[in-house]
Amino acid sequence: MSTYDATGSAARRPFSGRRARAGDLILQGVAGLAALGAVVLVGLIVYKVVQGSRLSLSTFGLGFLTSTGWDPVHSQFGAANLIYGTAITSFGALILATPLALGVALFLTELAPGWIRGPVTALVETLAAIPSVVIGLWGILVLGPVLRDDVMPQLHSALGFIPLFGPSSSGSTIFTAIVVLTIMILPIVSSISRELFLGVPAELKEAALGLGVTRWEMVRGVIFPYARGGVAAAMILGLGRALGEAIAVAQVIGAFNGPIHANLFFQGNTIGAELANEFSNATSNLELSSLFYLALILLVFSLLVNLLAQVIVRRVARKQGLVAQ
């Protein structure tokens, strides 16, 4: 409640007179209620998730995190393969999306001719507005078969000695999910990066160019260091989006709940996808509770990622002697 009071007193200062205060109080009340509502909602969700997972917590304990499989027939549930699948798809997507997104952002701020910038920016942002179920459908019908026929076999024959690039037979694989997630987080990372690059003071860039450096040296020496903290935060935001994505991943990953394997060109599963597939079909109370347990893991995962993001942003900002804006 301390923030509530602080905003209140700060907002009251510029106005004077009794009549103005009534409007102020209404505003303060409405805004305060909205903020309070958000906090209460998060609290309720956490409470519900913890309460729902209680049966599974007491049945499996922490062993849930290290065991594998989702077997309603024999009432055996484990999250290890789902945690692995969630991690590999999210980080895989981040690794693919970051250089692409930085490229897009640099192109739009530094390299593209002016008349291209507007339309391309709008198109990239439109990518973020496509519903995930549509991207997933496109993943099944178009992307999956293309990857299966024209990308995965080639990668396998060239890099097959690395276990990650094993043989493939279907278009629904971990790799397909990574590519779909890449497409989904690309606009997030690129649009934030673009804003950051635009925020680099023109004097700095001009000074650098004035010293006779090439454009690439200017990008590397001025723009990247200046925007580093923000880009890290953008990446974490993208990671958060990838971690929680359920529907599109469920459509293209192939829902394999067997043992963990290295092959990206084979089926897998993620926490979000398993929740999307199973949540409304749970056949026993223990399965339902185990699904809540999964949700709890995802919640903790997301919280850790958010904390990590703040730590990174602060550290980079301190290093640069700048205050995070």
Partner: protein, 353 residues
């Protein structure tokens, strides 16, 4: 003065917004009250969807003036929806589990159609109804023990076919599904290894394969993947032009799902169990079941016994159970239900208040 005017404007604005909201709520509730008299909503099984939303709903609407809205969201979700009372009726091909039945809190489960699930393949160079398989071989494929179409076990059953040296891509449902229930129920009956390792349910832990959402997801994956095998409701085989597989039944005949072969399988019932579901998979060896399809299933409508729309639901379900309506869905490969099942179903309809 200007500030005062602003305050008045805000107060007036809030009052106006409240009035608009109140009117909106009243209109909405009036509309829904009016709607409730003439609309039944249902959700669930995609197997029965072509019958309910394609044939019965329009016929019922023109005959009785009652609209039936049905969403094909899968059996598991259908049970969940009626449990949450967000629909008037649910539909599932698998009977409710004890946990589901108690969660549904006083629901009655009524068989209202008879259909089947069947394997489909996409082997380059092989047409529909050419491939012959037995239950144990199918189980081995789904256990991941047979992984190539040129496997001797498959070749032995298909001496006339030129089977390619191609990896088998196993496709199954990723969502809770009545088709999965029937399919795994059958495999459990024909393979001990399947029964002990995997078992039967609407969702199982698949030893291998690609999971896809819904009949349409499985159909799309099979159609787009050379070397794939999957299973779908019979209606979807026809609709998607997929290649059916002939299965060897207990009597030793290689059969495919049709109205006749599904109807024949249903003859196994001597009486209808009271509380549990009815399994008619894999009928035993007998002259009577010589041409019976081994993966036939009843599909159920699930209704709360105490429903605000009790009379409307009773009328609709009784109507659907009528001989004429049962016959009207035969071209979608639904077989007519045996008389004793219809009788038991009509008894259960009476339980709806």
């Amino acid at each position: 003065m200007p500030r005062n005017g602003k305050l008045i404007r805000i107060t007036f604005g809030v009052a106006a917004a409240a009035a608009v909201a109140a009117v909106a709520v009243m209109t909405a509730s009036a509309a829904s009250a009016k709607q409730s008299a003439t609309t039944l909503t249902g959700a669930g099984s995609s197997l029965v969807a072509p019958a309910v939303s394609g044939i019965w709903a329009p016929a019922y609407s023109s005959a009785k003036g009652v609209n039936v809205n049905y969403s094909s969201i899968g059996s598991g979700k259908g049970i969940a929806a009626v449990t949450a009372r967000t629909v008037d009726f649910g539909a599932s091909d698998a009977p409710m589990t004890p946990d589901q039945a108690s969660a549904c809190n006083g629901c009655v489960e009524i068989p209202w159609a008879l259909a089947g699930t069947g394997p489909v393949e996409n082997i380059p160079g092989i047409n529909g109804l050419q491939l012959h398989l037995t239950g144990p071989v199918l189980a081995k494929i789904y256990l991941g023990q047979i992984t190539n179409w040129s496997d001797p076990a498959i070749k032995k059953l298909n001496k006339k076919l030129n089977l390619p040296n191609k990896t088998i891509t196993v496709v199954h449902r990723s969502d809770g599904s009545g088709d999965t229930f029937v399919f795994t129920d059958y495999l459990s009956k024909v393979s001990k290894a399947w029964k002990s390792k995997v078992g039967s349910a609407t969702t199982v832990q698949w030893p291998t394969g690609v999971g896809e959402n819904g009949n349409s997801g499985v159909a799309a994956q099979v159609r787009s993947t050379p070397g794939a095998i999957g299973y779908v409701s019979t209606f979807y085989v026809v609709q998607n032009h997929l290649h059916m597989v002939r299965m060897k039944n207990s009597s030793g005949h290689f059969v495919y799902p049709s109205v006749k072969s599904i109807e024949s399988a249903s003859q196994i019932l001597k009486k209808v169990p009271k509380d549990t579901g009815i399994s008619i998979t894999n009928p035993p060896k007998s002259k009577k079941f010589a041409n019976a399809w081994p993966m036939a299933t009843f599909t159920y409508v699930i209704v709360p016994k105490n429903s605000a729309k009790g009379p409307e639901l009773r009328a609709f379900i009784s109507w659907a159970l009528g001989a004429k309506q049962q016959k009207s869905i035969q071209h979608l490969i639904f077989a007519p239900m045996p008389k004793l099942v219809v009788k038991a179903a009509k008894q259960r309809v009476k339980e709806i208040q």
